[in-house]
């Protein structure tokens, strides 16, 4: 995909996020929107996956360690054709395959159930370890929130990944700087993030998480790194793409009402039209 096509696709993903969370009347739009670009890049450019064969053995794996941003992943999987986009309006409804947090048994394209923070990275490490041990060539990716770095298990997993030289593992941190109780510094600062991962033996790449050129360069670089895992730390804007949600912590875990939904969708429609005129 060209950069413009990726931007258009990410805009569609954002519409899917807003639609899903609005339908659910609950959920986590802020961190889904901040990660919409990386979700798009992963599922449309980076990952070796096939929507027609979601469980193919040699597929690259992705674990959404920050599982509460499931709407972002679901919207991306739907956009990529793993299931109909209409399903997004069933998010969090009784009987839906789209659970509040990812459930691998129900949703096509999910490699792991997640939602309890700090555990997804360990599961990704387990996948990478299995691949290394048995000579499989797939790569493993996992996306963490910056607040999630407060979980001790993240560092247990990081220590192990580095000690076992898991260079088939790519950790991504969505550094949008906000968590439910406030900014991550106000709550319990995990900064400086790059230095911490470096101390834990990672190859560290810092990027603007909304710039597809930088994302491409980072993921390409990660694949060349041998003997150590890579972390891509993305500076992002929570709520990115919906002006009234941007950098506003109250949109971490609340859904737009009908009026807010209309406003958000109009904004995204307009952004889409502008991209089409490029």
């Amino acid at each position: 995909m060209t950069k413009l096509e990726l931007q258009k696709t990410a805009n569609e993903v954002r519409k899917g996020i807003v639609t899903a969370v609005h339908s659910a009347k609950s959920g986590h739009p802020g961190g889904s929107l901040s990660a919409a670009d990386v979700f798009t890049y992963l599922y449309f450019e980076e990952l070796n996956i096939d929507p027609k064969e979601p469980n193919k053995a040699d597929r690259d794996r992705f674990v959404l360690s920050k599982g509460h941003t499931a709407p972002g992943l679901y919207a991306t999987l739907a956009e990529r054709g793993f299931f109909p986009k209409e399903d997004l309006t069933t998010l969090r409804h009784i009987g839906s395959h789209l659970q509040g947090h990812p459930c691998m048994q129900h949703t096509p394209g999910l490699d792991m159930s997640s939602g309890s923070l700090g555990q997804g990275i360990s599961a990704a490490v387990g996948m990478a370890l299995s691949a290394k041990t048995f000579g499989d060539s797939y790569r493993v990716y996992t996306l963490l929130g910056d607040g999630e770095l407060q979980e001790g298990q993240v560092w247990e997993a990081s220590m192990f990944a580095s000690a076992k030289k898991l260079d088939n593992l790519c950790v991504i941190v969505d550094n949008n700087n906000l968590q439910i109780d406030g900014t991550i510094e106000e709550v319990n600062s995990p900064y400086p993030i790059p230095e911490k991962f470096e101390a834990f033996g990672f190859h560290v790449i810092n990027v603007d998480g909304h710039d597809f050129d930088q994302l491409k360069a980072a993921f390409d670089e990660a694949k060349t790194i041998k003997g150590q895992p890579t972390v891509i730390i993305m500076k992002t804007v929570k709520g990115k793409g919906v002006s009234f949600m941007e950098n506003n912590v109250s949109w971490h875990g609340s859904a737009p009402n009908d009026e807010q939904y209309e406003t958000a969708m109009a904004e995204l429609e307009k952004a889409g039209e502008e991209l089409c005129q490029k």
Binding site: V63, G115, S116, Q119, A123, G126, F134, D136, M159, F160
Partner: protein, 312 residues
């Protein structure tokens, strides 16, 4: 008469893992800096490329095992019961149980027979915790023969299994040549008509000893070995309770939430029967030689015998 052979079920676990490693190239073993104690070191020595020490980080180990299981390999992860079931409970529940992944948890040093290390390491709550996880199989073998058979069965079964092993050497009473292990199928070791003693783990041997003594007093005790606590062999327990009308449960575990509670759950709903639960009575235990502790907490043959007498 020759001396009865004694082997700790953790030894059986290590040996069974090694045998599994030879049979199945997809078995991978994880430990959390206790390989020498959990006996996964036996596997490590034979298959160093398929053994991984996670260091002292049990929560990470359990979640890693979950990730390994998603790739179609069979991870066995090990620590003491206190840390595998206790510290990592939420990982077991959310990363293993919820997606129903094919992870085997080999928990050693369960119960008071940990001995000298004392209360912080004596896990009397693991069965209770694991029972609450939907789809979790819980196996608590009684001797070496049963423990090795259980490990093999756990590897063949697809889904999460919690295996409970002990630190202390215990008598080997099953005959390898005739012994058959089936997940979820209890074993009637001795038939009787006056009282049913349902036991698990090292308490099965205590129950057998108690039954001998009771027989000398003219009391006919039926002894049932429940090696699989979940799914529980309800049919066997109900049939025996119907016959004897009195049930005693014996376990090296808290009387809250363990085998006794599982038996009561079945009987209270389907065949209300007087039950006496023997185990650790809502207390922390203490340091001391393992066998002495088992005696003090009245879970040896004499203790079980006396308490059955008090009950009936």
């Amino acid at each position: 008469m020759s001396e009865v052979k004694k082997i700790a079920t953790r030894e059986s676990y290590g040996n069974a893992l090694k045998a599994l490693g030879e049979e199945n190239p997809n078995v991978l073993v994880l430990d959390a800096d206790l390989a020498g104690a959990t006996k996964t070191s036996v596997f490590k020595k034979a298959f160093p490329d398929r053994f991984f020490d996670c260091g002292i980080a049990e929560c990470n180990m359990v979640s890693i095992a979950a990730g390994v299981a998603t790739t179609g390999r069979i991870p066995f992860c090990s620590s003491f019961a206190m840390f595998a079931a206790g510290r990592a409970f939420e990982q077991v529940r959310n990363a293993v149980g919820y997606p129903h992944l094919n992870v085997k948890i080999g928990a050693t040093h369960a119960g008071i027979s940990v001995g000298e290390d004392g209360a912080t390491h004596q896990c009397n709550e693991d069965i209770a915790l694991m029972r609450t996880i939907p789809g979790m199989v819980i196996i608590s073998p009684a001797d070496d023969v049963e423990a090795r058979a259980a490990v093999k069965a756990a590897a063949e079964y697809v889904g999460p299994v919690y295996l409970r092993f002990g630190r202390m050497a215990v008598p080997v009473f099953n005959d390898e040549a005739t012994y058959k292990f089936e997940i979820g199928k209890g074993i009637t070791l001795r038939e009787g008509t006056d009282v049913t003693i349902v036991a698990t783990g090292l308490c099965v041997n205590s129950a057998m000893e108690a039954a001998e003594k009771l027989a000398a007093d003219g009391i006919s005790a039926e002894v049932i070995n429940i090696h699989t606590i979940k799914p529980l062999d309800e049919e066997l327990i109900l049939a025996s309770a119907k016959k004897t009308g009195k049930v005693v449960t014996v376990e090296e575990h808290s009387v809250i939430g363990g085998l006794g509670s599982a038996v009561c759950d079945v009987l209270s709903e389907k065949l209300p029967t007087p039950v006496k639960k023997l185990g650790v009575n809502d207390t922390y235990c203490e340091s001391g030689p393992a066998a002495k502790l088992v005696e003090k907490y009245r879970l040896d043959g004499v203790g079980v015998y006396e308490q059955v007498k008090e009950f009936i």
